[in-house]
């Protein structure tokens, strides 16, 4: 029973979401890059944005007391006219045991591990988000066709927004 409740609610992990590396595709000029950076900066949970202009990567650090919503970052990039081609979420873990299909809840969203072996995570860990609009469209289609997880295709588990991550 207790296990069922925990499964239902998801596990609140011993983790802090500190920053994300957002790679943006389709950018062609410094004006586009500046527009994208300024759009990301308008989000209330964003503390700082550091661009790597040569690689089209933004290192976005988050405020400690705000809830981080990756979908809002994706929306800002899309509104600027571009797409997210890769997003690496950097969480600070504290002795968190994980395995394939393990999921935890953070800021109202679920994070669901895919393609990982059993492990204990400690310290800053880079998790690559695998969901639609966070990887190239072709890669998402391939993964969606292969996986048995319906929540991967839909991006939701029950009614909770669920991001799928891997190491």
């Amino acid at each position: 029973m207790a296990v069922a409740i925990v499964m239902l609610l998801g596990i609140t992990a011993k983790a802090q979401f500190v920053k994300a590396e957002v790679q943006v595709s389709g950018l062609t000029c410094s004006m586009c890059q500046l527009a994208t950076e300024k759009a990301i900066k308008t989000l209330d949970f964003v503390a700082e944005v550091k661009p790597d202009l040569n690689k089209n990567v933004y290192l976005v650090s988050f405020k400690k007391d705000k809830s981080v919503q990756l979908d809002l970052i994706k929306k800002k990039v899309k509104d600027a006219g571009f797409s997210v081609s890769k997003l690496v979420a950097i969480f600070n873990f504290d002795q968190q045991k994980i395995s394939n299909d393990f999921h935890f809840t953070y800021a109202g969203n679920k994070y669901h591990f895919m393609d990982v072996s059993e492990k204990t995570l400690d310290g800053p860990i880079r998790l690559t988000v695998l969901d639609k609009d966070f990887i190239p469209a072709g890669d998402f289609k391939k993964r969606a066709a292969k996986t048995s997880f319906e929540c991967y295709r839909s991006g939701v588990m029950g009614k909770t927004r669920t991001y799928h991550v891997t190491l």
Binding site: T28, S30, M31, L34, A35, N54, G81
Partner: protein, 267 residues
């Protein structure tokens, strides 16, 4: 013609630098960012019955990620000795296709323009940049190929009566097809470090027109150089040359100088 293909092959040969699609004579299929506002001032001119020039103030705004709008005013001495306000235009572009991957994208957009002018109508070329009242609709596709941005568009133009009782003469063709091909290339910087580095882009654009139902054609080539300063101030310098044509026109072989200032997240 040979010289043109030589220039084009030079442009294509520069494949190991980054590319640009902020075309000077045309619009790419890409749009401005949502909530972005650009303020433009364009000056163009040349010699035709003496020196004549046109000034075009313009505002551009990104409504959402797929829709952007322009509003322009036209002032010139093209049809009289003194400078006057001769008309205005409004333009909208909707991006319907966007296939992005790293350093590469393919985009498609449809666009429409309405233009009003109070000039007399004396020329065969339908020109919705100040000379004619009328409307235009077209489609544009832009491909960024890691290092080079190529764009092509085709549009339909319909001339209407100009304002101030300047009726469209029945002797002229009221409909035309326009077609363009543009190539753009970033030449500097080779490596991006920060937003203050000035970008230098070079462009070569081909701009053709054909009046429907008539044997009236023209083709211009417009080489251009562009500087982007501080990632928000853009300066374009271009010179158009008519390659061939048998249309009477007002505004042949003009230079163009433009300044554009970009503001982000304005609302």
């Amino acid at each position: 013609m040979k010289r043109i293909f030589f220039l084009l092959s030079l442009l294509l040969a520069g494949l190991n630098t980054a590319a640009q699609e902020l075309y000077v004579a045309t619009e790419p299929a890409s749009n401005m960012p949502k909530n972005g506002l650009a303020i433009r001032m364009t000056q163009e001119g040349g010699f035709q019955n003496g020196y004549q020039s046109r000034t075009i103030p313009e505002l551009m705004y990104g409504v959402n990620k797929n829709l952007m709008v322009h509003a322009s005013a036209y002032l010139s001495n093209f049809f009289q000795n003194s400078y006057k306000l001769e008309g205005w235009s409004t333009y909208a572009k909707y991006r319907f296709l966007s296939i992005d991957s790293t350093n590469r994208h393919f985009r498609g957009a449809v666009y429409a323009k309405y233009s009003a002018s109070n000039n007399p109508i004396d020329f065969q070329e339908i020109n919705l940049e100040g000379n004619n009242s009328g409307w235009q609709t077209g489609v544009v596709f832009t491909q960024l190929l890691h290092k080079l941005a190529l764009s092509g568009s085709i549009n339909y133009n319909k001339a209407l009566d100009n304002r101030g009782a300047n009726l469209f003469p029945s002797s002229l063709a009221a409909e035309s097809i326009g077609y363009t091909f543009s190539a753009g290339l970033l030449t500097y910087p080779k490596v991006y470090r920060d937003y203050t580095q000035t970008n230098v882009n070079v462009y070569l654009e081909f701009l053709g027109k054909k009046n429907l139902g008539r044997n009236e054609n023209l083709m211009d080539v417009a080489p251009a150089v562009q500087f982007i300063i501080n990632s928000n101030l853009r300066i374009d310098v271009s010179q158009r040359f008519q390659l061939w044509g048998n249309m009477t026109r007002n505004g042949k072989n003009m230079y163009l100088i433009r300044m554009e200032y970009n503001l982000y997240n304005v609302f």
